[in-house]
């Protein structure tokens, strides 16, 4: 292919795009819808993941001490353990105050101060990953001075299962959505090629090489893919930031805070853009190939 041919191909792509502007717009629209759904889904997955981690991080182990225990020794024991993220000491007085607050300060606990305080001293231990909780609780139990190491057994089991379960759903749904989008794009481009099937065969009869024929279709596909993706990215991005702002304003719950970590969001955006552009180009190539046999 010499430079004349290349220039011709480029001009041709441009002309072809304009002459088929309606079809191009429709396909771009379909790509936009598919990718918007994919993007929305990715954002949901990322947020759900963060919410899960936030909830996980609130699962802590309550370590109750014997009255006779050496706090310092327990502290060292906890430091030595791998998987412990942090811990705080809660004295029996703080514990009583907390308990009183949890009853709404409406119930007089006046008889329980000082010597009468029935609560033990405790450490509250945060763990790096939920599934470590049971193991670490058992190990902590063995530290001298510890009466019991307690955690929401039911909650931990629940979280572990919900996480695995969400992951499965995410992978399956994501794959299905992506497949559906590719399928749609290939179909639409194939239909568009189908309507130009005759044209392609005539070009072959005139001695046009495969690349000469492919080029405008390829460009068309890429432009369609790219336009659709940019539209999808804009729509999803806008919707997400409005939603995020709304959620931050409302502070619905500690675990319902939107992900606003820019690198994460940008990598989703980049994924969308790359996927859309590649989809358009590849879709065209695949669709044209069938009609390029001599």
């Amino acid at each position: 292919m010499n430079s004349n041919s290349l220039r011709y191909c480029l001009r041709q792509s441009y002309i072809s795009l304009w002459r088929n502007v309606w079809l191009v717009a429709v396909t771009a629209g379909i790509i936009a819808i598919s990718l918007a759904m994919l993007g929305g889904f990715l954002l949901f997955a990322v947020n759900a993941g963060q919410a899960m981690r936030t909830i996980e991080s609130t699962v802590d182990i309550s370590v109750f001490l014997y009255d006779s225990a050496d706090k310092e020794e327990v502290r060292r024991g906890l430091i030595a353990l791998e998987g412990v993220e942090s811990f705080v000491f809660v004295s029996k007085e703080d514990g009583l105050a907390e308990f009183s607050r949890s009853l709404g300060d409406r119930v007089p606990l006046s008889g329980l101060e000082g010597e009468n305080n029935p609560l033990p001293d405790m450490y509250r231990v945060k763990v790096v990953r939920t599934d470590l909780v049971p193991v670490l609780a058992a190990e902590i139990q063995n530290i001298p001075g510890v009466e019991s190491a307690d955690y929401g057994e039911h909650l931990v089991g629940l979280l572990t299962r919900v996480t695995g379960w969400l992951n499965k759903i995410f992978i399956i749904t994501g794959t299905l959505l992506a497949l559906g989008a590719v399928f749609l794009i290939v179909t639409v481009i194939r239909l568009s090629v189908l309507t130009r099937q005759e044209e392609i065969s005539v070009m072959k009869y005139l001695g046009a090489s495969n690349w000469f024929i492919r080029f405008p279709f390829l460009m068309e596909g890429i432009v369609m893919g790219w336009t659709g993706t940019v539209a999808a990215a804009l729509a999803v991005g806008l919707a997400y930031f409005r939603l995020a702002a709304f959620m931050q304003r409302e502070t619905l719950a500690f675990f319902l805070q939107p992900v606003t970590h820019m690198p994460t969001l940008f990598s989703i955006l980049a994924t969308l853009l790359a996927t859309g552009t590649a989809m358009g180009g590849l879709g065209s190539l695949i669709s044209v190939r069938k009609y390029l046999k001599a």
Binding site: S5, V202, K204, Y205, A294
Partner: protein, 228 residues
């Protein structure tokens, strides 16, 4: 230049053969009319030379090379040397008249300047100067047919294969187009025309190959459309 050796063609799904054992030799610079009743196999023969279709048995040679053995890229090169006029025109609907004719040169990688000059000349020769920017759907039948002829001659091909090139053209224009083909033939191009225009065939006294029901029934050096 073109040698057809005992070629048989049976289309998929049909019982009778469109060609049943045809051999033919066409030398460089020949001017050949293919005649015969509708359905005799004229278009089939032209499509075989062009390798739009493959023979069921037998061989087609172009410049001494077996067409069946060509790799894709070689086939394209051969086709670029052939100027083809299709019976059903086969214009590119999405392109203007100018672009349609120019396309034959674009695939050769000619420069835009050369293309402009040569396309204008070709359109003038078939009597279509002034229709450059029309789309095929906005032309009359005869005008479309002449666009097809311009597209075939614009690239100064080695061979012109024309399938019924004057079916939609009036008497005067048909004569002029035949003169054009004769002109091009004089400059060395081989010309093969399948046609029903008996008056023109009779008037030009060229080689005539007559087909009937898939067989060559006559091959005369300075022949006529029919024996009457």
């Amino acid at each position: 230049m073109i040698e057809i050796r005992d070629v048989q063609k049976i289309y998929n799904g049909s019982s009778a053969g469109a060609l049943s054992g045809v051999s033919l030799n066409i030398a460089r610079g020949d001017f050949v009319f293919l005649v015969g009743p509708s359905g005799a196999g004229k278009s089939t023969l032209i499509k075989l030379i062009f390798r739009e279709i493959d023979p069921t048995s037998g061989k087609v040679f172009f410049n001494g090379r077996d067409m069946a053995g060509l790799r894709e890229s070689e086939l394209l090169k051969v086709r670029r040397k052939i100027g083809m006029v299709f019976q059903d025109f086969r214009l590119l609907r999405q392109k203007t008249v100018f672009e349609n004719v120019a396309f034959a040169l674009e695939v050769l990688g000619e420069s835009p300047r050369a293309i402009r000059a040569r396309v204008s000349l070709a359109l003038e020769r078939v009597g279509l100067a002034g229709k450059e920017n029309s789309f095929p759907s906005r032309l009359s039948g005869g005008e479309q047919q002449r666009v097809g002829i311009a597209r075939a001659i614009v690239k100064d091909p080695l061979v012109i294969l024309a399938d019924e090139p004057t079916g939609n053209v009036d008497r005067e224009n048909s004569r002029r187009l035949m003169e054009l083909f004769e002109d091009i033939n004089r400059s060395g191009t081989t010309v093969i025309i399948a046609t029903h225009a008996w008056d023109l065939v009779n008037g030009m006294k060229k080689r005539v190959v007559a087909l009937e029901k898939g067989l060559i029934v006559r091959d005369e050096e300075r022949g006529t459309y029919s024996h009457e």
